[in-house]
Point group: C2
Chain length 423, copies 2
């Protein structure tokens, strides 16, 4: 008998009808001869409504109490899914994160999972029950307090629980058919990816693909847990996130997995700094001390006559104001002319593990953008990724152009094997 | 430093404004130099809304899952009250029933408290925090499952917790000023009672007075915990439920504490049973085996010519249908002519520990009803209570007549000491 862990997001359990549909799906999986453990998010807007209630009694509620409040959301959906399953004649048991053994650190609001001790879940499964676990929550190891893992972290709960239970697969149900070669809202010809490697999915998630949380993919990779991302509204096969080839899959991997984009970052340029060793260290030490994570960094070649250069970096828009204030406060010590701030930027990332062995990917990317008259403001690369920053209003055109240039459009069938020169 | 346990019901925490008002009240109690532990019910209609959600996914949800669902209600209100207190600059911690050490049996939906192990609450109080406990819930001793104590049982949680913590008083906040000599909606001249003994309050609760749950009063009596029932909408003194006289209180207790009424029962009459030993045992063994609790029982004198008699009893309306079916099924064995069923009845109860030493109370009661032309269908008495069953549509008149006859109307000042003859 296989053990399947399933995770249903908020839109899949938005109302009573959705919950009944999800229950049928869970029961079908059970009837097919599997043990089933399900992780659920809160119903539709519940979390937002609870946030509104909190805001109505306090402008800055303590995070411990906020966790106490918000965890009610998944508790409610877990109990309801369990009832709907019982109504179909199957036995189900709902558990809170704490009861399910989701042990976290004590950082309320964005706790990290330290360990999973799923003794009660295991017992219930072995006793023949379907188990429903409230996602997004756990209990802290040191203080025994209720914690939340941060929004969207039910995926991570599911993968971690699947790993701890030794499940055969972790199915992540969502409202789309799987992972696409690009966001179908921007690229109508985007194709569903049948399989993507862990490494590629990790880069996709880190580059703005919202379908899976980065931390969830990291977990899956670490524990070698196959993820199947699929729609709760259809019975189509979705996307497998695994390094193991699917049956009938071509021997040679496609070079490019997909194109991700990200509009959540802003760009700051420190203009007119001395081009001398240690200057970047000074700037980014200030930023790091303010607890701000940065993404890309670019330093221009200095102008010969002045010996001055510019340093640009990208960071989450939410942190931009704070970063500017931090740097202004350190202006004398760092020594620069001025700061430029731009939040009208977007980032395009081309991801594919085939890049390692196929040169010319970057050149094709730049040519495709140039042909559309799109200016590249920053470039950064990793082993299996090329990212560029463009103006926000050119980003959609950029994504479409690159998607086409690499033969990812669905009318062209499977992605072509590209052979260019010079990356 | 005194320790005060307070309990706020659903109407006291119905919305954000109410929660903020309750928070101010709690903080005032803290500022007055007390340690404060608060038990809260779910906000206004939350429990009903959660019941509706459950009904939408299953016509008969498993009780375990219903408990999982419903306990979210008090969790939400506890967290919100805690946040509102923090916003007033005081430190508060909310705890679930399970975290607060409310240990119950494993009867989901109407669990009984077995023990309270308030270690975490004690620690938090000693660390200077105000503690907020989600009422109505606990964790079962044997199965470690989340249980609910049944609706309205947050009062019981408060009293039990107060007893376990060795509190000085348990304040039960509600939307009226205290316990009245009769329901003020029926008797506009009803007076607020300043103090009532545990025994009297127990009879009042058992006789339909809804202000305190019977089980809560039993607990208070067992642990000798003074209860102060008062309004969360005013700062008036409420009603003290305690056997200890208040300062300045008269040495002699009033004979009558108050008049309670109850419309929740129905009457069943078993017509034409043989008047022989054991017949009542047969009838009520059947009823008991169907897990139905009965209240009053009356057996008529048998008619000499037939040797047949009638047996009447009252029971909760909700159980009446089942009781009728049970008896019909046993008709041959018991041997009776027919069953009569009446759910248009009401019960009036006159309560007062002074009855013990003052004869004539029953006679005055019957005379008062007779003067209003009200027919008495059944009578039952205890040491400190006389109850009569009347037609439902005569019950309000009956309550008013009796209230006046015993000098309880507020225009007449304190209750008169009654001296009649022959009870």
């Amino acid at each position: 008998m296989s053990l399947v862990v399933q995770k249903y997001g908020g839109s899949s359990v938005a109302d009573a009808d959705s919950i009944k549909r999800v229950a049928r799906r869970i029961v079908d999986t059970r009837k097919a001869g599997n043990q089933v453990c399900v992780v659920v998010s809160a119903m539709g807007d519940t979390t937002d409504e609870l946030h509104d209630l909190a805001a109505a009694v306090s402008p800055a509620p303590p995070q411990r109490e906020l966790d106490m409040l918000l965890t009610a959301g998944e508790r409610i959906s877990a109990a309801l899914v369990s009832m709907a399953i019982a109504n179909l004649g199957h036995s189900a048991r709902s558990y809170t994160g704490s009861q399910a053994g989701v042990i976290t650190d004590d950082v309320h609001g964005k706790a990290r999972i330290i360990d999973i001790t799923p003794g009660r879940v295991r017992e219930a499964l072995d006793a023949g029950h379907i188990v429903i676990v409230a996602g997004f929550q756990g209990v802290s190891q040191s203080t025994k307090e209720i914690t939340t893992l941060g929004r969207g972290a039910s995926d991570t709960t599911a993968v971690a629980l699947a790993a701890a239970l030794g499940a055969d697969v972790c199915e992540i149900y969502t409202d789309v058919d799987g992972v696409f070669t690009a966001d179908p809202r921007i690229v109508p010809t985007a194709r569903k990816i049948n399989r993507i490697s862990n490494e590629e999915m990790q880069e996709m998630a880190a580059s703005g693909a919202k379908i899976l949380m980065l931390r969830c993919v990291e977990y899956a990779r670490r524990f070698d847990m196959p993820i199947h991302v699929r729609s709760s509204f259809s019975h189509h096969e979705g996307t497998w996130v695994t390094d193991k080839k699917l049956e009938g899959e071509a021997v040679e991997d496609p070079i490019i997995a997909g194109v991700a984009h990200d509009r959540s970052e802003a760009k700051i340029t420190v203009v007119g700094v001395k081009d001398k060793p240690g200057i970047a260290a000074e700037i980014f030490t200030e930023i790091a001390q303010a607890q701000i994570n940065i993404d890309m960094i670019v330093q221009n070649v200095s102008a010969l006559e002045t010996g001055l250069t510019d340093v640009s970096f990208t960071l989450p828009k939410a942190d931009a104001q704070r970063a500017v204030e931090t740097l202004q406060a350190a202006k004398e010590r760092i020594g620069f002319d001025q700061l430029q701030f731009d939040d009208q930027v977007g980032k395009l990332s081309l991801i594919g593990s085939g890049m390692r062995s196929h040169p010319g990917v970057s050149a094709t990317l730049f040519r495709a953008l140039a042909e559309q008259g799109i200016n590249i403001e920053m470039i950064s690369t990793s082993e299996i990724r090329v990212s560029v920053v463009t103006a926000d209003d050119q980003l959609d055109d950029a994504v479409r152009a690159v998607h086409t240039a690499f033969g990812l459009d669905s009318s062209e069938g499977e992605a072509v094997v590209y052979g260019g020169s010079g990356r």
